[in-house]
Symmetry: C2
Subunit: 337 residues, 2 copies
């Protein structure tokens, strides 16, 4: 598994720059391809061109380092999301574990679907139903306890069809984009409809994105004093669903700057991409199009999970970058495909 650290990256780069034996900062280094998993083509070139434009001080589109904010959706953009958002497998396991204490779930959707292993009914309950399932089964413990539960589950559970740990099912080409942007002064954030506290325990190790740069959906919490300290209790009440038009709102709340690059894969990311491209700075918008049924999954306009319909039309109309996983990516997952 790829381990990346923003801070370590900055420091290493700085030490190299500061102590370069040649002492000649203007001499170009022998540069390896920064995006080796990307096949040479339009998508790759558009990424490289954008970064070149905003980081060249002589360019009319130069953006100071502090304003180089890049936001990434997670499900379907940085890791896979089929046959269900991965967090739902966690929720399903939690529902089954907690079901004996909740007899009412036997007749109440989407819990009934989970208990009866009816995936189709579960998916049909829609994104909001799915989020409610997640939120309801993620409450009743402290934030510290939840982190331990989620981490233990991720460490011991594998994906139903690949048999791999879920954190192995991240996209190698996107890991390269994250590294490439950070090496050029970008601060990388996750802005996902997934649960913020489900992601934070592992995003630093897997993506090089620390917890404070992860934005997501949340349930309410309550501060409580205990005999041996203080805790935040997780309440069974939705606080914020970080999807669609709520993504720009959450970006403004958590970051306070408009991103200049946004990466998504579904109509849930549309407004985030509109926000990144709708300001004074040059904006870059990229959609990952899942069109590789052989190495991953193929789905778009009709899918319940990760539907990409309006986004494809808008990308076409506005010249956004659309990545064909089949044609643009040499490999999908970090391990051999």
């Amino acid at each position: 598994m790829k381990i990346t650290s923003t801070i370590a990256g900055i420091l290493t780069l700085t030490i190299l720059l500061a102590c370069s034996p040649s002492g000649n900062g203007s001499q170009p280094a022998a540069t390896a391809d920064p995006l080796p998993s990307w096949i040479d083509g339009d998508a790759k070139q558009e990424i490289l061109d954008f970064v070149a434009r905003v980081t060249d001080p002589a360019s009319s589109e130069f953006v100071p380092e502090a304003e180089r904010i890049a936001t990434f959706d997670n499900d379907g953009t940085l890791w896979a999301e089929q046959p269900l958002y991965f967090q739902l497998f966690f929720a399903i396991d939690r529902v089954k574990a907690l079901a004996p204490e909740h007899p009412e779930w036997k007749t109440q959707q989407p819990f009934k679907a989970v208990i009866e292993d009816d995936l189709e009914a579960l998916v049909a309950s829609g994104k909001r139903g799915l989020l409610e399932l997640v939120m309801a089964t993620h409450a009743g413990m402290t934030t510290d306890e939840f982190e331990r539960i989620a981490t233990a589950w991720l460490d011991t559970t594998v994906h139903p069809t690949s048999g791999r740990p879920f954190t192995d099912m991240v996209y190698q080409p996107m890991l390269e984009v994250l590294d490439y942007l950070r090496a050029h002064g970008f601060k990388t954030y996750i802005v996902s409809a997934g649960g913020i506290e489900f992601m934070r325990p592992w995003t630093e190790e897997v993506y090089g994105i620390p917890p404070e740069q992860v934005v997501g959906s949340s349930i309410k919490t309550s501060f409580e004093i205990r005999d041996n300290g203080s805790v935040l209790m997780r309440l069974p009440e939705i606080d914020f669903i970080d999807d669609k038009a709520a993504k720009p709102v959450a970006i403004n709340s958590h970051i306070g700057r408009r991103p200049i690059a946004a990466f998504g894969n579904s109509d849930g990311d549309l407004q985030m991409l509109q926000y990144a491209t709708g300001g004074d700075n040059p904006g870059f918008a990229l959609l990952v199009h899942h069109d590789d049924a052989e190495r991953e999954w193929a789905y778009d306009r009709e899918s319940h999970i990760g539907r990409l319909d309006k986004g494809l039309d808008e990308a076409d109309a506005r010249g956004w970058t659309v990545v064909s996983m089949q044609d643009d990516w040499r490999m999908i997952f970090p391990l051999a495909d």
Copy 2:
């Protein structure tokens, strides 16, 4: 005015470390006093001791750099807050400018108090009333427009008694604490009941704290597409009041880590200090006690603004650091007192 940048600080430090001519990392540098505006005494020593304990790898209380989160209240902790929270002077000027369009304000508190220059009635409307005033007068424009309005006001308005710009009325000893912590690997955050978007335009220049490390109260916003781009409209509806038990909640939401040091000055900060000291890591809690009527203001248990009552008792019971502005601070503001 002091201009500080976290990133620049890290890079400078790194270059110095990486290129030290002596090449001997273990040799102590000639160290100037990192807190020159602090009089030698318990408070100063407790700060120095805490930082030494958590940054010494040989210490049993060592805390890795990524977990060195320090949170600071703003009003009364980093800058002054008398005779009113400074943001209220902005709100008052906005109410007066907008009053012709709002005839109903003539009979409605706290607007009536503002229009009639009745400071006492305004203060008596309480923190929630004051926040409502702020929120109501800060809506109806885009986030970008609000930033311009707030910045223009701060650039052109002075404090009613000192005659200085509000951003000059920051506490020099606290600026030194911010720098000192950052030089020891801490990430510094503001966690304030003040408006998040009122603070973000100037906190980087004044405190060295970038917008993404500022947490505060907020009104709701709505994403809208315009002919020439996209905006967030500010709505006249309170979203979050970042005070008391909401501070740990906001810290968890924005940062996702428990602070190991928290700095406040009023009972509104009590839970933040309980949170910082209530976890597994060693925690440091500090209260600024306003007891210097000559150089600043003296107020605590009975004050409407910045009341410090329960906090003093809890600090006494738990051994928190209490700073006497009179006895512990050589100077108050960066300019000559």
